[in-house]
Symmetry: C2
Subunit: 277 residues, 2 copies
């Protein structure tokens, strides 16, 4: 049996992803994304699961930045989870009477048009997770609401005002499973890595990196620029490409990438997940 840390508390979407993918393992909910990553890096748990990207909001920049700057762990696999948000209160109440709405900032962001239309009077308050939001409305008075999955509202006998309230009806979150080893090669892998350049003003540097892959018909499936944190306009690039780092073709390309970049960090090679759970 493996031990797995995930972004809790229990009831979070990350828990849902974790339990569905690993139904029979030893699970540890953690309070923050760095706590999950640290528990893997320090060998306290075998794996750790954190969100990395959402189809509406884009990258979870906190996860990207932690993996780029602060930790040395590998992405071992990915999980695609379908997300559906509900507006939940303690008791039955009119929407116009709601004074506070608690949820994880990304859930609030995903429902922003719905909320600005239906509850413009309400103060939006961040919680560490959607399940922490539910705890909060159980403690609070009746004028507080939460955004969370309907399943958790039902478990807590709470009132569901409306289901599926997110602004875009297709709403998928990608989670990554972190470990200390590189995942073994399969038939269909991808590789995540990040890099930067010492000279920011030289045109064509990023293209030169991309061309090394596209010239060999290797697809770039994601490209993201993150701030270097050192100066405005200086970026670190995150890329996902198809293939496994242990393929001869890819490892040869990475020798070239290393030559033309200032920093290169491989974050992992892992199987492409095609199923949405």
């Amino acid at each position: 049996m493996k031990s797995i840390a995930y972004l809790g508390p229990s009831g979070s979407y990350c828990e849902q992803a974790t339990i569905t993918k690993y139904p029979d393992q030893k699970l540890f909910p953690m309070a923050t994304i760095p706590a999950v990553i640290e528990s893997v890096q320090d060998g306290i748990t075998d794996y750790g699961i954190v969100p990395i990207e959402n189809s509406i909001e884009g990258s979870v920049t906190f996860t990207l930045d932690a993996l780029i700057h602060d930790y040395k762990v590998n992405i071992n696999s990915e999980i695609m989870l379908n997300i559906s948000h509900s507006l939940i209160t303690n008791k039955i109440i009119e929407m116009s009477k709601i004074e506070k709405i608690y949820s994880h900032p990304q859930a609030l962001a995903q429902c922003k048009l719905y909320l600005s239309k239906n509850t413009p009077q309400a103060q939006l308050i961040n919680t560490s997770s959607t399940s922490a939001a539910l705890k909060q409305i159980i403690d609070d008075g009746i004028t507080s609401a939460a955004i969370a999955h309907a399943r958790n509202a039902k478990l807590n006998n709470l009132n569901i005002i409306e289901e599926n309230i997110q602004d875009e009806k297709i709403n998928i979150t990608r989670f990554v499973v972190l470990g200390n080893e590189i995942a073994p090669k399969t038939e269909n892998d991808k590789t995540s890595f990040c890099f930067d350049f010492s000279d920011i003003d030289k045109p064509g540097q990023l293209i030169n990196v991309m061309k090394l892959f596209s010239d060999q018909e290797i697809n770039i499936t994601k490209i993201e620029s993150r701030p270097s944190k050192k100066e405005l306009g200086k970026y670190i690039f995150w890329m996902d490409i198809t293939g496994h780092i242990e393929q001869q073709k890819l490892s040869g390309i990475f020798v070239q990438v290393k030559k033309i970049t200032s920093m290169l960090k491989i974050i992992g090679s892992y199987p492409v997940e095609t199923e949405i759970i």
Copy 2:
């Protein structure tokens, strides 16, 4: 005299940027980023000013997404503002006694290491601006704190626990000035635009766009991928390049870009700001 909407309320960093750049104009604080952009698009104000990028947190994705998906306005110029955050309370109090910390989510994010080290017990609560956070601690009990600029704490006779608490000491926010016309050509301009592709799985598409610019020695100063919101893994790209759309060389390239992209939207050509205020 021009009328200018900005992301308020009064006391916000955006107000500071606006007043410093436009000291003698008619200023209107707005509650949200869409409200600023709408006031420009609808001709209620001549210009609107919103944050677009921070040297630590990266892009203000809410601004990028609004300019990509929801509105048709032009970036006319940019403002670079140096940001310094302070931890502020109503009265003198030990840090370990602070129960709630209010601020704009980006300010909370910029101080996250400081806060997790010094006030791990405190609940972090989002407000619409740093000045809204100060109002909140004036209303609240003594165990609440705010993160805002020291200048505003002094104006309100509040207690400054510590200045310059952001995790990275270089902290610059870039604001954009929005209008309905394209700004006239100067000696040193940049152009912002966004585009996507209909076929996501064809490798090398993005490179082909980038190469059109780099082959003509035009520098790409920013590239950002934003979710299309339609499916995971499908992106819209935002690019900043040097030069003005009315330069013959650039307009010729954009004819080519249009041919190989599915959607192309010019967000503006405007002078490069070199001064940090």
